[in-house]
Every structure is written in C-alpha cells, then in structure tokens.
C-alpha cells in the first residue's frame, strides 16, 4: 500500500509539470486552434538559458527569473514576427511552421549548448537531504510541485480576476467582438504566447533535475502534457491541468505495476488514442451552450 501511495505522490509531482505544459498548449490552442508542437523544445531552450546563467555564476533564483523573462520575450517575438502572418494560413501551413519551430529550437539548443546530457541543479536539494513526507517524495519533487502549483494558481487568478486576463480570454473566444470593445487583439495574442513560453520555461527548469538536460529533454514530457491536455479537453484550461496531474499518476502507477518503466511512454500515447476515439472533447470538455 505504501508503494502505491509513493507512486501516486510522485505521479502528482511530475503531473504538476505536465499540467503547466498542458496549460501552455491549451493557451496557444485556444487562440490559434493549433497545437504548438514546439512548446517542448522552446521550454528546453529556456532551460538551457537558465543552465548557462547558473554556470555563469548567477544564483539559482535569479537565473530562474531571467530565463522565464527571456522566454516570455521569445514567445512575444514568435507571435509578432511569425504567427501574425499566419493568422489566415491553411491548417497544414500552420502545422508546418510549428514543426519547423520545433526543429529550429532543438537544433539551436544543440548547436549552442551541445548534445551531451547535463545535470541540472535543484534549489531544494544540496545532495544530502533525506526524502520528505515520510520518504514518499524527494525534496526536489516536493519543491517543484509547490512551485508549479503556485504558478498555476497565479495564472488562474490572473485570468479570473484581472481585466487584462479577461481581455485575453475574450480574444480567445471572439476576436471580432473583442475589437469592438476596443481590445488590441494582436497584443493580447502576443501576451498569450509570452505567457505560454514562460509557463513552458518553468516546467522545463523544474523537471530538468529529474530527467537531466539535453536538447531532446522535453520531447517525452510534451507527449505526456499533450495526453493530459487532450484528456482534460484541449480547449479547457482547468481540464487540461487536471488531465496533466491525472497523466502523471497514471504514468507512475502504470510504470510501476502494469507495463514497467520502459513502456511508460506507451501509456501516454495510448491515452491520447483512447481519448480521441471515445471522448474527443476530453473528459472535462465542454460543449458551448447557446440559445439563439
């Protein structure tokens, strides 16, 4: 029984990271109606920025904040320079661009920082701590979950309670009507990309100490996040977050008791297929109710 509890808790810990990446995917999906396949590689690149800042002697949290800020700007720039031109593009052109971005970020990471696997420091461990919560979680797992949870709550509060967040949601639902109340739609879209990139950066930096840093670090993570987003409903932010946690737990339990660690990724792929077949709107997917 304690083994199961251990797996569930550790699943929730990695799930929190899937959840924040899933939320980034949903944020982009809601405004572009495409899945940003490059979200993971962008996060990897951000993690490399944090890594090189730490190597250059910056303290961990300064490097963390700088990397998140730089990622935010990269997100803004991608929207302003690239996505704005693609607003009316064919769906395949958009997919092509997203895959292109994936390859570009992957290659740039490898080219600048190299392909050798690097250890990434954790701010919550100095090497000799005992596991916390009675041995169920490592100090890093606990710290990373708390950071991602705090970030998810902050994002929720931003969208729920601020006028800017409301304007961004309005743009996602109805750009035309948003213009009619005076919202500058392009700026909101750019802000969305910035936020998504920043969320990805946080996810990358938090998972790097567990999976180690290399240019392909996020490839698998993105699949889990994508499974989580689909499970919860790709156009439902809260659902995607819940889906991310669920996938974390399913992965941990499945890996430990069903298929073994080598086949864990299969679980993510299987759940993607299963959701698409049986519940294409996701478990929490909403049909918009409207009367006319």
């Amino acid at each position: 029984m304690s083994g199961v509890l251990h797996q569930v808790l550790s699943g929730l810990a990695t799930g929190s990271i899937y959840a924040s990446l899933a939320l980034a995917l949903v944020m982009i999906y809601k405004t572009t109606h495409h899945v940003n396949f490059a979200q993971g590689e962008m996060a990897t690149f951000s993690t490399f920025i944090a890594w090189s800042l730490i190597e250059a002697g910056f303290s961990y949290w300064v490097a963390f904040l700088l990397a998140v800020a730089v990622s935010f700007v990269i997100g803004l720039a991608i929207q302003a320079l690239l996505m704005r031109r693609l607003a009316n593009a064919h769906v395949l052109s958009a997919v092509g661009v997203f895959i292109g971005l994936l390859l570009i970020f992957n290659s740039i990471s490898g080219w600048i920082f190299g392909y050798t696997v690097k250890a990434f420091p954790s701010p919550f461990e100095s090497g000799n701590e005992k596991p916390v919560l009675g041995g169920y979680l490592s100090a890093h797992e606990l710290g990373a979950s708390l950071v991602t949870l705090a970030v998810l709550l902050a994002v929720y509060a931003f969208f729920r309670f601020t006028t800017l967040g409301l304007a961004m949601r309005a743009v996602a639902f109805n750009p035309q009507s948003s213009r009619l109340v005076g919202i500058r739609v392009d700026r909101m879209l750019a802000l969305g990309w910035g936020l998504a990139a920043a969320l990805g950066a946080i996810a990358g930096i938090m998972i790097a100490p567990i999976v180690f840093l290399d240019p392909n670090m996020m490839a698998g993570i993105l699949l889990y996040a994508f499974a989580g987003a689909l499970l919860g409903g790709i156009d439902n932010a809260a659902g995607a977050v819940a889906g991310g946690f669920a996938v974390g737990v399913i992965e941990a339990l499945g890996g430990a008791y069903v298929v073994g660690t080598e086949l864990k990724l299969t679980i993510a792929l299987l759940s993607i297929v299963a959701v698409l077949i049986f519940k294409p709107n996701g478990v929490f997917g909403r049909h918009v109710v409207s009367r006319v």
Binding site: A167, F173, L180, V181, G182, V288, V289, S290
Partner: protein, 244 residues
C-alpha cells in the same frame, strides 16, 4: 454637397463615395451619408442591400474605398479597435456578445476602455436601463434569451460611453413583444442621453418611429433620403417596406 468653410460644425459622421466589396463582389457602389450630433438616423433596405456592410465599413471591418470622417477626421482604413477607441460603439448582427463568458464579464469588457474609477457609476447606469441583467450577472451570456442577449449587447455598447452608436437589426430574431421592449428602451436612451444613433433595421415602421432622418439603400446605392416623417409618408416606401 460639399462642406463649406463657413459651416461651423462638420457632421459627426460623414461618408463620401463609400465603396465596399467582399472579394470580387461589390456590395456598396459609392454611397454618401452623414449623421449629425444628437441625431438618430436609420438605414432601411431589403435583405442584401448592403445595410450591414455599411455599418461594418464604418468600423473598419471590411475593406473600403472612399472617405469616412468622424468629427472631421478620416477614419477609413484604420483598425477596428482604433475606430472603437474614438467611441463609436457597434452592436453587430449576431449581437457580438461573448457567449461563453458571464453577463458580468461581458459588461466589464464593454467598459474596457473606461477608467476604473468611472466603471461602478457606468454599470449602475446600464442596470437602470436593463434591470434584468443585474439579476443574471453570474449567468453565461449564451444561456440568456434572445431578447436578454440583445439587451446585453446594447448595454455592452453603452458602457463604451459612445459618441455614436451603430445598431445592426436590434429586432432580429426577437418576438414582437420583445422587439417593442427593445425599441422602447432605445427611445428612452435617445431621450435621456441625446445619443447619436445609426440604426440598420428591416422593421421600417419601428425604425422610422425612432429616427429623425432616414436613408433608403437599394443594391448598394442610396436611392432616397429625408426626414423620417417624409419617408414614412412616401408612397413607394410604404408599399415596399411598411406593408400598407
């Protein structure tokens, strides 16, 4: 008719030689119209005459040729959000409310350009016109009845504190009794605020009753203009649009 230098006030809104097209099909073939400050003006015409396109052209939602001036300044070719920021509020066909958001969120978005300090008073003002909305603040806008949605759309537009209100078929899809309610409210708002309104409407009876002046649009051309009472008496209009 050219505005001479001696005339002190330019019209609030003025269009000259306004053309609009969707791809290869031209909808407006160079129309002229003007709306004065404090005036309610309606644009009548059959389906497909170009009424909705005229409003969309004013708001920069369709590509146009020709001149549109607001308070004497050119606004044609500008982005919709820039035109809205000059306080032209547009209630589009289909109402343009945010179905997925709550009534309260829709209203907050309507007041998006207002300074925070003005918002409570502005909300109190629209609740006075639309007391039903106050009871439904937490409800998703898409679940309101058609009439309530139209009220929400008008409330949203009023929250901009518009200098000109563009209304696209406020009667569309509503039961006759609800239509009367909507127009009674518009009459009240007109009296209270001396608000300039440019109204597009199929229901010519109601539109002419509310308006000071009217234009008649046929296949993208203005074929008649005059005071609302003149047009209401006109034999051709009566037969074609008023149905008696």
């Amino acid at each position: 008719m050219l505005t001479s230098a001696a005339e002190p006030m330019p019209p609030l809104l003025e269009a000259r030689g306004l053309k609009a097209a969707y791809g290869p099909s031209t909808v407006l073939h160079g129309i002229d119209f003007a709306i004065d400050e404090g005036e309610v003006c309606c644009l009548l015409g059959a389906n497909g005459a170009g009424k909705t396109t005229t409003l969309r052209a004013i708001c920069g939602m369709v590509r146009t040729e020709g001149e549109i001036r607001f308070c004497g300044e050119r606004i044609d070719g500008r982005a919709t959000e820039d035109i809205v920021r000059r306080r032209i509020a547009h209630v589009p066909d289909g109402r343009g409310t945010f179905m997925e958001l709550t009534v309260e969120e829709n209203l907050r978005l309507g007041a998006y350009l207002r300074p925070t300090a003005e918002i409570p008073a502005a909300l109190a003002e629209v609740y006075e016109y639309f007391p039903k909305l106050r009871q439904r603040l937490r409800q998703q806008a898409g679940t309101l009845s058609g009439g309530e949605q139209q009220m929400l759309a008008i409330a949203r537009a009023l929250l901009l504190k518009p200098r000109l209100l563009l209304l696209d078929e406020p009667s569309f899809g509503l039961a006759p009794i609800v239509v009367e309610e909507v127009f009674a409210l518009l009459e009240r708002i007109k009296q209270d605020q001396r608000l300039s309104i440019f109204l597009v409407e199929q229901n010519a009876n109601l539109a002419l009753a509310l308006s000071d002046r009217a234009y008649l649009l046929e296949t993208g051309r203005v074929v008649m203009e005059g005071t609302a009472s003149e047009l209401a008496k006109n034999e051709a209009i009566r037969r074609a649009y008023l149905g008696f």
